[in-house]
Amino acid sequence: MEVKLMIVDDSLFMRKMLRGILEEDGYQVIAEAADGVEAVEKYRECRPDITTMDIVMPTKNGIEALTEIMALDSGAKVVMCSAIGQEALTQTAQAAGAKDFILKPFNPERVKEVIKRIAGA
């Protein structure tokens, strides 16, 4: 079965890059969102299998969006994207229900590995 993904990041550059990495492995990116508010809305609409979630974003940050998505769907699989130095935030995110995290700048192999693991879980 095809795994459907949503990418949440306020940077178009980051979204396109992540999409490029994931599509290489045959994943289907069905939605992109540029901030937390949009992420929650799109999640409600398209129910992706896996969501990658940036943390620092305007209007509603990634952790808030994660919390709302988890409230919406307790089985949601959300992977946080964080930068070095945000370790404290990733802990908060894991407590809020994030399944894993990938570090920016993206290492394509690590990204694929994490998503593969989550998809198989």
């Binding site: 178009l12 980051m14 540029a34 508010v37 974003m57 808030e64 404290a88």
Partner: protein, 547 residues
Amino acid sequence: MDMSQYRELFVSESREHLNSINELIVALEKDAGDRETMDSLFRVAHSIKGMAASMEYGDIAELAHKLEDLMDRVRKGSLPFDGGAADLLLEGTDLLGAMIADVEQGVPSRRDTSDLVQRIINHQPKQSETPPGDIRKTVQPVAQTPPLSLPATPGQKGEGRQSNNDPSQTVRVKTDVLDRLINLTGELITNKYRIMSISSRLGSGNLDEACVELSKLLRGLHDEVLKVRLVPFAAIADRFPRVIRDLAKKSGKEIAFEVDGREIELDRGIVEELADPLIHILRNAVDHGIETMEERLAAGKSSRGSIRLAARREKEQMVITVEDDGRGMDPVKLIASAVEKGIIKQEEGWLLSPREALMLTCVPGFSTAREVTDISGRGVGMDAVKSAVKALGGNLLIDSTQGRGSRITLKLPLTISIIQALVVGCAHLKVAVPVINIIRTMELKRELITTEGKHKAFFMGEEAIPLVSLNRIFGLPLSHQSGEAVPVFVSEMKGRKVGLVVDRFIGQQEFFVKPLGRPLVKLKGLSGGAVLGNGEVLFILDVANLV
């Protein structure tokens, strides 16, 4: 992984961020405690860092990282946002801009960032501003601030800078594709006139109908193509707060700067050409318009001057104004100065209306500056501003009240490539005059023409308008028509209204303006060429630079 495919996106997105930094810093200087602005600045630096790191541009990532840290200290309250922090941020922005330009051009970056990086790391708030007892207070918010403190405004989607567009429904298009689109549309319009001219010869009803339909479709296409070419005025206006800030700082004046109509959309071809003229006008306003604080207080004004830049759309025109509440200009002094500089004769000076006197500032060789200052002494004068505006097919007006301030108004067409123009005939020659440059057209009755020596004129209301023959300007034989009236169009040359006499008016239509290229581009008084429906080529007149 091949990252080169993301390079263009990296450059354009970083640029957008950098452009917003200037604006944010100026906003934060106005309102130092504004949480949202601080967060935005932090986010911008953070985003650039992330992208640069992905692209493996280590220097850019490091510098952006340091700027991010700086902003993090500011938003967590451990560092006040003072002039020092703002200057470091601006300096960093400029350096990042240069490095990103290197990336764009594919030049390996050899810019030294280490000095700036060190200074950012070492940056400490000025001790004098925060007595020791207060430091604890300013540090304390760290504990109060939860680890993640980004503004949450649920339900207010669309307020965020990039969040109002569904990314899956927008695409980025290269600007040269947009240029080609407008060129193709222009060629189609030219060809429409060609088909229409054949159709009128054939007298076929069906073909006529098809032509009417074609016209409608082309108008639709033209409108749509223009729409994609539109960019918000903010694309250039957002640079100006920074410019004003720097200029004001240099001249020791306090200035409140406001921009209205940032969202107004303009053709990108015009926006690009407007930046320099506007910067010059703003420079003049800071340097010559706004008085020193002492002068202002003595005149009973508030010590802080104000400059307002506004863009709005008026029918088929764009109107951009720059207003200041400074000292204004004195028409009598302007005339005296122009006479002294030999730009006009004393007798001519007497004839000038106050408004015409203001336009003297746009005559080459004229400058209202009593002394050349570092600020507006360099670069172009108002004459260059005026010719830049004219080259876009626009117009420049000046209003001023002594002691109250000045207002410069730019009227511009919505697009430069396709224009409405009136075709006039002079002997065997046909030329097109952009409608935007025409104040009035008329069939002037001969008895209304007054003659004084060699000079002819007529009255438009109270105003005496000199008459000039376009045939004479072109060195063509004068036609000696015996009719009761002569065709005249009134336009502006060197800030004065002039009636241009032609042999005949042929008609008005839209033209796709073609560049003249080498060597003809050097010929004065022409701004481009166009092709008529019958294949005839004619030239577009640059009235302001005819003589």
